[in-house]
Symmetry: C2
Subunit: 144 residues, 2 copies
């Protein structure tokens, strides 16, 4: 569904959000330990998320990654996914046709539409806040 990079990105953002609530910045290393990912690769993904302005970074000593507290509820899964995997999940044809639309559909075009639309809704309606709260409350987990 998502690339590994995107999976790491989502989990990283959740962990960053949790810490940002407490005014703490976190390093790629801490993040990687918490989400069970390779830390150098995770760092690359974080860089990309910063470039796409999904999260913020502060360089130098006492720096790290963070999100501004009052943004957490407005950051949606869709933004993270789009920043890392692009929009192929929204626009790409299920069977890989270059051109696939109502006028020239692939064989599964209509059937895919339903699934894709539901996925899209889900991604656009799910905020980082919601996911972070699930972790904090212990009702969901970032690793194992």
């Amino acid at each position: 569904m998502f690339s590994k990079a995107c999976e790491y990105g989502i989990k990283a953002c959740i962990f960053i959000a949790i810490n940002s609530y407490e005014g703490k910045r976190v390093s790629p290393k801490e993040i990687a330990e918490e989400i069970n990912s390779p830390h150098a690769f995770t760092a690359k993904i974080l860089q990309a998320l910063v470039r796409q302005r999904v999260i913020d970074s502060v360089k130098g000593a006492y720096g790290g990654f963070e999100v501004s507290k009052n943004e957490i509820q407005h950051i949606k899964l869709a933004q993270i996914v789009k920043a890392i995997d692009g929009d192929r999940i929204y626009n790409g044809c299920g069977l890989g046709l270059e051109k696939c639309d109502e006028k020239h559909p692939c064989p599964v075009h209509d059937k895919f539409k339903g699934v894709r639309d539901e996925l899209k809704q889900m991604l656009e309606n799910t905020s980082l806040e919601e996911l972070a709260l699930n972790i904090k409350s212990g009702s969901a987990f970032l690793k194992l």
Copy 2:
């Protein structure tokens, strides 16, 4: 969503079905031309589908790939996808957790459930027959 191999596999099966209705066997080369795929790679995928008993092959002169006419309505997309991509699309965790279930869910577990279940339904309810008819009637396309 699906691997390239799986996309080719699905399209190939549809084309084979269309021809099997007319009692014709088809070669990897014909298939590849029709679905716009690399023919040697396509041949490998066809071999896998034969091994998994989704389609049949007949070796030697006048051979080729086919599906038995009265199976076409019973072959579902789910079988093809499972034969090529395995069942990660059904069972894998959306965020890549090794262990992810009701008792130990990832942050998006519940939200994914809906999407995945709809996808599963779709794949299990869509037959090769249905897709082949859409191509024959010109209301859907395998390439371009």
